[in-house]
């Protein structure tokens, strides 16, 4: 199936924009980008092949992160040195992720229970299901913990400590060492920074997600960045890594321009609407709802995969 053979045309623009509005609204409401929902839902709802969905979602993400960085830049919370160093690792990871997707596309079909099925669909559905389960359970556990804390069952102010092995990474003295004054970090191995960028880059290039759910805790716990600097630097980094992702996926023909524009229009409006409603709901309940939403996503992906395998 190629970019022209599924329901993606100028006529379907309003439907795609509305879809972007819904996902953008959910993302804005739950305070996340929604890339991990966008790609599987584009596949499930519109039948967009995963490679096109990933490439086009990266285009949408590039626009949204550019807008967010422009807005965030006035607060001065971006560590440009850290962001620039991390881009090197991320770009390498994005390229690897895109090549993995390309490889899956070339494998063609495989036989499952006597049926020929697209390898990319099977692998990507399973990877997304695992990702959504991981994110969903983490968010539900964290929200329940916060609710118990508010109810007095857990000591107030008790934060979840980083695992000792993670904190120990900060002390690795592998040459070359760099200092990051804007983040208040005296010395850290360059390889740690590149490694964080690389891992999130692979996720981004293969799955079309920003990877902030890994990069943010990594910046705070492994590098020891202040949270506000981590947020600003994360946005700056996503802007460049998603731009690189768009270029490399466009080079492979995976970016559908009408889809990118529709998603951008929808998510831009939806994100503002969603974020405005967040203020009316309690934080832990919002995150609990987000976790449940991730599990609904898993069910939808599973149903789609089941129908391909057995019908």
């Amino acid at each position: 199936m190629d970019a022209g053979s599924f329901l993606l045309s100028a006529h379907s623009f309003p439907f795609l924009a509305f879809f972007g509005l819904v996902i953008g609204g959910l993302g804005g409401f739950f305070g996340v980008g929604g890339g991990f929902l966008m790609v599987p839902m584009l596949n499930v709802v519109f039948g967009v092949p995963y490679n096109i969905a990933v490439g086009s979602d990266l285009g949408q993400m590039c626009g949204m992160s550019t807008a967010a960085t422009v807005r965030h830049s006035r607060f001065g919370n971006i560590d440009f040195k850290l962001g620039t160093l991390m881009i090197v690792g991320t770009a390498t990871g994005v390229e690897l992720g895109a090549q993995i997707l390309e490889l899956l596309k070339r494998v063609g079909t495989l036989s499952v229970f006597g049926r020929e099925i697209d390898t990319m669909t099977v692998v990507m559905s399973l990877v997304y299901a695992l990702l959504l389960v991981f994110l969903g359970q983490a968010m539900v556990r964290e929200s329940l913990r916060t609710m118990r804390r508010a109810a007095g069952q857990v000591q107030l102010g008790a934060e979840t400590p980083a695992p000792p092995a993670v904190v120990r990474l900060r002390t690795v003295k592998l040459w070359p060492m760099v200092s990051l004054p804007a983040s208040g970090i005296e010395s850290i191995s360059l390889w740690i920074i590149l490694g964080i960028g690389f891992v999130t880059g692979v996720l981004s290039g293969m799955l079309g997600v920003g990877g902030g759910f890994i990069r943010m805790p990594a910046l705070v716990y492994i590098l020891g960045c202040p949270t506000v600097v981590a947020v600003g630097t994360d946005l700056f980094e996503i802007m460049f890594s998603s731009a690189y992702g768009v270029l490399t996926h466009a080079h492979k023909g995976n970016v559908h321009l009408v889809l990118v524009l529709a998603l951008l229009v929808g998510t831009t409006v939806g994100a503002q609407i969603g974020a405005s409603y967040t203020r009316r709901a309690g934080g832990p309940w919002v995150r609990f709802g987000f976790g449940c939403l991730a599990f609904i996503g898993v069910i939808m992906v599973a149903i789609k995969l089941y129908s391909k395998l057995f019908h």
Partner: protein, 62 residues
């Protein structure tokens, strides 16, 4: 031809078939479209926030 139709045609050229070769215009539009729209939205929101002295909804991009 309208803008959407033009985008659609440009996208139709981008069929991910074996031996696919991306056109320079398709590559340029793929990156210019989201960046231009992001810059426009970002500065427009900043302007609105400054004029009305409000902080519109924040959003992560994870």
């Amino acid at each position: 031809m309208d803008f959407l139709g033009w985008l659609q045609n440009l996208g139709n050229d981008a069929s991910p078939a074996p031996g696919f070769q991306a056109q320079p215009l398709y590559l340029a539009v793929s990156i210019a479209l989201p960046v231009a729209m992001g810059l426009f939205v970002g500065f427009a929101l900043r302007l609105l926030e400054r004029i009305f002295d409000v902080e519109l909804g924040k959003r992560g991009v994870h």
